[in-house]
């Protein structure tokens, strides 16, 4: 069975004060296997981020269902869904969304604040993840003291610290120049090589090629999926 199964998902936004509803996603069907690396491509406004947040258990679809590891996530009560996000998903946002007042190490530990593990254990787990993304020597820096590429890697480290089965990334290289962008892509590639399942939104065809599979979306509809030779 697939790790993520998206079935007949549609999303309609009804903006305030406007009569006409906006259909952002229409009848999306998608399955993600464990260990897979998928790129989602499409023009701006096509609904990529919407699909990512729906898959990320934080944006209820108008129709259809999302199953992750056999759990129908939108059947969960709201707070349980928050717990689910913490346990199953690691997000890398387009703007990274790092906490400006937390240093590198603290940002990584953020998803662990509610866990019962000891402070020492949290610390060593966070340090291990920072080691993996090559930021161990910058643990006490604040985000604004990091370069763009380092911020991106920090965002990835934060997504990884809970060892979530699925990483969801929304244009993780979007704000970066191509050099630092490929730095990030290398990290993703390494992770995937170690068995990490990754679902990534990107504009950049070069980056998309790193994935096993590219999913295209336009005007909220999926068309041709391209499989890449391993």
């Amino acid at each position: 069975m697939s790790f993520v199964v998206i079935k007949n998902v549609s999303k309609v936004y009804q903006p305030d004060g406007i009569d006409s509803a906006v259909r952002v996603l229409a009848d999306i069907n998608l399955a993600v296997q464990e260990g897979e690396f998928i790129s989602l491509m499409g023009p701006s406004g096509s609904g990529k981020s919407t699909l990512l947040t729906i898959m990320g258990a934080m944006n209820r679809p108008s129709e259809g269902s999302v199953m992750v590891d056999g759990v129908d996530v939108y059947e969960l009560p709201e707070e349980r869904r928050a717990d689910f996000r913490r346990e199953y998903l690691g997000f890398v946002f387009q703007q990274h969304h790092l906490m400006p007042y937390l240093n590198t190490l603290e940002n990584v530990m953020l998803p662990l604040v509610t866990s019962k593990t000891s402070a020492k254990e949290k610390r060593s787990r966070a340090m291990a993840v920072l080691q993996r993304v090559g930021l161990a020597n910058k643990a006490t820096r604040l985000p604004n003291q990091l370069s763009g590429g380092e911020q991106g890697r920090l965002a990835i480290a934060r997504a990884l610290v809970n060892e979530p089965p699925l990483i969801l990334a929304d244009e993780p290289t979007g704000t970066l120049d191509s050099n630092t962008g490929s730095e990030i892509m290398e990290v993703f590639q390494q992770l995937n090589a170690q068995g990490q399942t990754i679902f990534m939104v990107t504009h950049n065809p070069e980056n998309a090629l790193v994935a096993h599979r590219i999913v295209n979306i336009r005007d909220g509809r999926m068309f041709n999926e391209s499989e890449k030779e391993q």
């Binding site: 906490m99 603290e106 604040v113």
Partner: protein
């Protein structure tokens, strides 16, 4: 790393914002603390000062013939009047139901006698009571200790050549009340007249064929006592040929806003033959001043707290709106609503506790700085733990009330919305 570490890190690394909120809260608290402290102190001072003007209540015999003037009050000088006050009447004043409110009962006999060829007004008094009443007197010499001792008013002493001016200009005068006994506001009397330095030149004086000792001379007060020789009540009663008789009884009632009119009624019932009158003007003025002051301070405090609360509320709202994205990210990462509200409330609690403390300190400091402009006598600023604790509680309450709503609202934000925007 726990929830409170997030709050702590935010406070530590966004000091400017935290400081802004702390300043906002502490300005409100400081204003209220200063207002309340000052109004309370001034209220006390007005009370004690008014008390120091002496008696609140004057008891005189019922009589139509008014001949003498004592302390601005006309009293009967006719000794053959039927309705005389007696020694026991002074004791009976203390039998009224409100006796606890009476601090001093000062009976006295008044009369004119020839002293070394000059007519002088004599007042026979109970010195213990009299000196309690006339706290503003200052003496050169001592308090009367023996039955034959006198206190002499400045003008009378001068006319009888009992004193002479000293060259060095240093006055030896001492207050009749030791400093410790004087309640706040009692230090130096506000209306004290510039003293001329003098000393007693002659301490024996002949009155009606008896020799008396001048224990002390009262420095000039500008009041009628400057003209009077004070002696012990029984001696002067005998001397004036009115044994057992009183010309008047001065009664001082304790405290601010005591039921003076009720006390007057009770004394009248107790002494049906006497005319009992309160110094209405001073009593009314005092009550009114004190009440007005209290009302003013409470009204201003309420307004200040309201404005302060609104300010904190809008600032909290603003800071939460500013942090919408941040809160959305926390939600997306999987923090529960309650945990986010916790985080925000820990911050608010820390900020408002500090704000309360700073505000209280500033308020006390302000009171201390501007107190001299309100009070002529060196009032002492007391640290009242109730006000300190109250200030912190009010600050925390304002902080909590004004941020609970924004915090709840923030925790309800749709995380997908929050993380969408740059």
């Amino acid at each position: 790393m726990r929830i409170r570490s997030i709050a702590w890190a935010n406070l530590k690394r966004r000091k400017g914002k935290a400081a802004f909120l702390i300043v906002g809260i502490s300005i409100g608290i400081a204003t209220v603390v200063a207002l309340l402290t000052l109004s309370r102190l001034i209220k006390d001072e007005i009370g004690t000062q008014l008390d120091q003007f002496g008696a609140n209540i004057i008891v005189v015999p019922q009589s139509n013939s008014l001949s003498l003037d004592y302390g601005g009050i006309s009293v009967s000088g006719v000794s053959l009047d039927v309705n005389q006050l007696k020694d026991e009447d002074a004791r009976r004043v203390l039998d009224i139901p409100y006796r606890n409110r009476i601090s001093v009962v000062a009976p006295k006999i008044l009369g004119v006698s020839n002293v070394e060829g000059q007519p002088v007004l004599l007042a026979g008094v109970n010195f213990d009571a009299e000196l309690k009443l006339k706290r503003w007197w200052r003496l050169v010499g001592q308090k009367p200790a023996q039955d034959g001792d006198l206190l002499v008013g400045y003008d009378a002493a001068k006319r009888l050549s009992l004193i002479e001016e000293t060259a060095d200009g240093q006055s030896q005068a001492v207050p009749v009340m030791p400093m410790a006994e004087i309640t706040s506001g009692g230090g130096v009397h506000a209306n004290h007249i510039q003293e001329k330095a003098f000393r007693i030149a002659r301490d024996r004086v002949q009155i009606g064929g008896n020799e008396f000792r001048v224990a002390g001379v009262i420095t000039p007060t500008g009041g009628s006592e400057d003209q009077i020789i004070f002696g012990s009540l029984p001696r002067f009663q005998k001397l004036l040929g009115k044994p057992d008789q009183l010309s008047m009884i001065e009664v001082s009632a304790l405290c601010i806003g005591c039921p003076v009119e009720e006390i007057v009624k009770q004394i009248s019932t107790q002494l049906p033959n006497a005319k009992v009158s309160a110094l209405q003007q001073s009593v009314r003025a005092r009550a009114e001043t004190v009440n007005r002051l209290t009302r003013f301070a409470s009204a201003v405090s309420a307004v200040v707290l309201l404005i302060g609360g609104l300010m904190v509320f809008t600032t909290m709202m603003g800071s939460v709106v500013e942090r919408t994205k941040e809160i959305g990210v926390l939600r997306a990462i999987g923090l529960r609503k309650r945990q986010i509200i916790n985080e925000l409330m820990i911050e608010v609690a820390a900020i408002s506790t500090i704000g309360g403390l700073v505000g209280w300190t500033a308020g006390m400091l302000i009171s201390w700085l501007i107190l001299p402009y309100f009070s002529q006598s060196g009032l002492k600023l007391e640290i009242d733990p109730k006000i300190a604790i109250g200030a912190i509680l009010v600050a925390v309450l304002i902080g909590a009330v004004s941020s609970v709503y924004p915090a709840i609202r923030a925790s309800r934000l749709d995380p997908s919305e929050a993380v969408r925007y740059v």
